[in-house]
Symmetry: C2
Subunit: 177 residues, 2 copies
DNA sequence: CAAATTGTGTACCATTTGGTACAAATGACA
DNA sequence: TGTCATTTGTACCAAATGGTACACAATTTG
């Protein structure tokens, strides 16, 4: 017997690999080893609720491990290290970015936008604390987000982590405090 | 009566909006106004062949309007302008990037990788011509691709073109010949 | 230990999916 | 004009889809 919380990381991995539409209920059943009964017991709203829970889980992780540290004295270098680990050095896809591009987007638009906005706010706070002017900090935050997202997309597309890794390297140089 | 070539841009727009899995045959028939008979007449391989044709069409456009000019004396600024127009200033999604992230990826992995590799080659050629050392040119090419892709993803996610537009602006500054 | 609660598997459902068959309409062309 | 190939709509199909119903097993809890 399992509980809902244990399932969420598994579901996250499944959606990461197959997308929202691509991950059929039949496949989710097979991969988790749970029947529909259990699945719909934990997530009465079906696939949509599963994906929602996964997004929430991701948001919480970033909130604790990335955003808050960034706002409370952590360094950018530290953040980039955590990000690098989280995305397996470019081998793991950003589920939020993926949902943002596909048809799933409308369904989760609010959570998707909130995730990136929150990240941006934390980055701006960090850069201002480093002595940058607000406009400069804003531009820097966008640059950092864009470089991470783009690196992940291209690393996936070319099946090579170099895009992601080199992006992180440049960010370290350009924004070292 | 229509012909195959006219259909491809329509299909491209449909896939862009709904993704590969999300664009059902029923919807494609409705949107194009063509029955399955016509669709399967032009694309006997079904949806997969439609998407393949769309990717090929996109590749050809970039080859002629982006890659070749870049290798034959065009400026980076010129390329960035074309790219900006093509992606509607950040309002249009990169279909190749989208396919790269979703489950569709395996099916079209070769075309997806080739598209970005080709772009990278053209950029390296341009930067070397500008007097950069090969390693520097390579790093610059990756940076440019990453910034464009990331900008598109984030602009879509936040429903705001600023990520894409500011990325382009930075590229203009950092790589002006 | 009994009773309520929670978790689980299976059988089932209507709907939608991508795809096929084929006859009728349309066009090019001699 | 008559022939032939292409184009088109419709009716069909098996398989897969997300979802529900429900009986049974495992827990908690009084």
């Amino acid at each position: 017997m399992r509980e809902r919380a244990d399932l969420i990381p598994e579901l996250a991995e499944i959606f990461r690999e197959y997308g929202f539409e691509g991950a059929s209920l039949a496949f989710i059943t097979e991969r988790t080893g749970l029947g529909k009964g259990s699945l719909y017991n934990f997530f009465p709203g079906g696939k949509a609720e599963m994906a929602g829970a996964v997004l929430e889980h991701i948001s919480r992780w970033f909130e604790e491990d990335i955003f808050v540290p960034l706002e409370q004295g952590g360094s950018l270098s530290e953040m980039l290290s955590h990000v690098k680990t989280y995305f397996a050095g470019g081998g793991r896809v950003c589920l939020v970015g993926m949902f943002a591009l596909t048809e799933t987007r409308d369904q989760f638009a609010v959570q998707i936008a909130a995730y990136f906005e929150r990240w941006e706010v934390a980055l701006v706070a960090y850069l201002v604390r480093q002595g940058k002017h607000p406009a400069e900090a804003q531009a820097g935050a966008l640059d950092i987000l864009v470089t991470i997202q783009g690196g992940l997309t291209l690393s996936r597309a070319r099946n090579s982590p170099q895009y992601f890794l080199q992006g992180l390297k440049r960010l370290r140089q350009d924004y070292q405090g």
